[in-house]
């Protein structure tokens, strides 16, 4: 126990240590998170009226970000599968960064849902009464929290073993790794079912949404991990083999291709059928009756994704910097596509045919930025602490003595 507390204390200490770039980065994130917290406090006092939401568009940037991040959370599985199912060597030591990302991102997800609630304190009542299994939202609460616990356990156990320079016991984590693979698929499927199950919103009521979610998640998530690995490679001595990046690049390419294909399928269905149920799609892609707030967004997303895909398919992407650009484009494109491009148009026009547009307010944006900053802060700390542990620089005293 004492050893464990020492471990936690040392990790805590380590998270403050770094060169000036690290400290500046952490400062930036901390300040942004504080500004977000300040904005959220205002929202607690005034109510959700400080957001751009309305009775017509009742979910906006919070739920959009939540949806996108659930995808990011599921993405670790794209590293886990090659390693644990196919025995991919190069990625083996990097899986942990995917799982750490999952932890940070699920915490962000939970925060985004919390700030969207009118009465966050009453969430505790879920322990007293829960509409399970009827409500998809309760499923989401369950799967997200269990997935968080799974990943906390896997990462915590592996890192603590490395700290003690012990070989992790397979029985204690391998079954959970396989459970987590299944679970990763489930969190994103359940999140898609949140929307898909609503008969009154034809734009969402499409079976293709869940596969689309998964495809876009498996593109944006690994893309983010590629960027992380590039940073690790640049700023630390931790070994990131080329093979790992190539593998991730391949995964991202395939996932993005499938995502674009599914989007095209959706677009065809909506526009070729040309029924009145296509009004939301019309609004999104072309604008409806002079309302076209989302049109620039979705076309930006499509452009970003297309450019990213083009770069990935061309031999150009062997250049690491171009690969980075492709990843950034892809993450941006998918963020728009799943956020503003999927959640908001579901509400426009309203079920009674009224068109009320939505745009996030400054306060709402600050809250979003704050949560993003907090999540990145968390991920940075997790990575910052994990690297010295895995490379053996940070180890328990007994382990060091034993090795001597």
């Amino acid at each position: 126990m004492k050893n464990y507390l020492t471990f936690v204390w040392r990790c805590f200490r380590t998270s403050f240590v770094g060169d000036w770039r690290y400290q500046a980065w952490m400062l930036l994130l901390t300040v942004t998170a504080l500004v977000g917290l300040n904005a959220y406090c205002k929202q607690i006092v005034e109510g959700l009226v400080l957001t751009g939401l309305s009775d017509q568009v009742s979910w906006g940037s919070y739920i959009s970000n939540f949806t996108f991040l659930v995808g990011m959370a599921a993405a670790a599985v794209m590293l886990v599968i090659p390693v644990y199912v196919y025995g991919h060597k190069a990625l083996h030591d990097l899986v942990i960064f995917g799982e750490l990302l999952t932890i940070a991102v699920i915490i962000m997800c939970i925060m985004f849902v919390t700030v969207d609630l009118g009465h966050p304190e009453r969430v505790l009542n879920l322990g007293r009464r829960m509409n399970f299994p009827m409500s998809m939202l309760t499923w989401d609460v369950v799967v997200l929290n269990v997935y968080l616990l799974l990943n906390l356990h896997i990462c915590g156990y592996l890192i603590y073993c490395a700290y003690n320079k012990q070989e992790p016991r397979k029985a204690l984590y391998i079954p959970l790794v396989f459970l987590a693979i299944f679970w990763a698929i489930s969190i994103h499927t359940v999140t898609a079912f949140l929307y898909v199950g609503l008969g009154g919103r034809p734009f969402w009521n499409s079976a293709i949404i869940a596969p689309r979610f998964l495809a876009s998640a498996f593109a944006a998530g690994p893309a983010f991990i590629i960027l992380t690995l590039q940073v690790i490679r640049r700023f630390t001595s931790y070994h990131v083999p080329n093979g790992a990046l190539d593998m991730l690049k391949r995964i991202v390419t395939v996932a993005l291709t499938i995502n674009m294909f599914l989007l095209a399928c959706e677009v065809f269905t909506e526009f070729y059928t040309d029924s009145t149920h296509g009004a939301s799609a019309h609004y999104l892609f072309l604008g409806l009756q002079g309302h076209n707030a989302l049109v620039p967004w979705i076309w930006t997303a499509i452009t970003l994704n297309s450019v990213a895909l083009l770069i990935l398919y061309l031999p150009l992407s062997r250049s690491r910097s171009l690969l980075n650009i492709a990843c950034v484009f892809m993450i941006g494109g998918i963020w728009i596509e799943k956020g503003m491009g999927l959640i908001v148009p579901g509400f426009i026009p309203s079920p009674l045919g009224e068109i009320v547009e939505y745009s996030p307010t400054i306060n709402e944006t600050l809250v979003c930025l704050g949560i993003w900053a907090f999540g990145l802060l968390l991920y940075t700390i997790l990575v910052r602490v994990t690297i010295p542990v895995l490379s053996g620089e940070l180890a328990s005293d007994t382990a060091v003595n034993n090795n001597k």
Binding site: D19, V31, V49, L50, S54, Y358, N363
Partner: protein, 219 residues
Amino acid sequence: MARNRDNIDISPVIVLVFVACTTWFIADPQDERIPYASVANVSKEDISTAPIRTRLSDPPMVHLGGYDRDCNDCHRIFKSLDKTPNRAFQHVDIKLNHGRNSRCFNCHAKADRNRLTIYGEMTVSYDQSEQLCAKCHGTTFKDWNRGIHGRTMGSWQPHAAGNTRLKCVECHNPHSPAYLRMKPLPSPHTLRMGEPSIAHATEDSPLTQWILSDTEGAH
């Protein structure tokens, strides 16, 4: 925890930034205007449940020369013409706009002006004017009898004490029975609704294009 040689100590900057943050939070300069609409202007009369017309007494009374008089008080003296004249000499305020029902004695009993005529010699009092309407508007009368047509006030339980069922003449003017137009109460102005869109999609369905070409523009 050795620091690198090339490391620059940025702790003063950090402290400065935190202090700047503190100042910003305390000053709280950011102020976002929330677009509340003003409260809809609706008076108690606008949502009164009173009938839109008052029905006449039985028999109808007029106040003339200091006395309350019923219809027969005059019509006993002045003989009526056999046919409804093209132009009324009395009751000029009445504009008869009741479709083909354009003769006074279709409804008013010629012999007894305090009553209404049903068929031949059969008459009803003004209290039972619905019996007269029923002569032509059979289906509507049936609906009214079942509580389907017309206004009911009081309880949803049929025949509950205190229920009021309005009669035909409490909504319809018998001389011009079409229901009157009225000014609508204020339109909705919900949070962040913005300016309502003016142009609705122009219809090019066959129905609206050819049959209902007299459609007014929205607003």
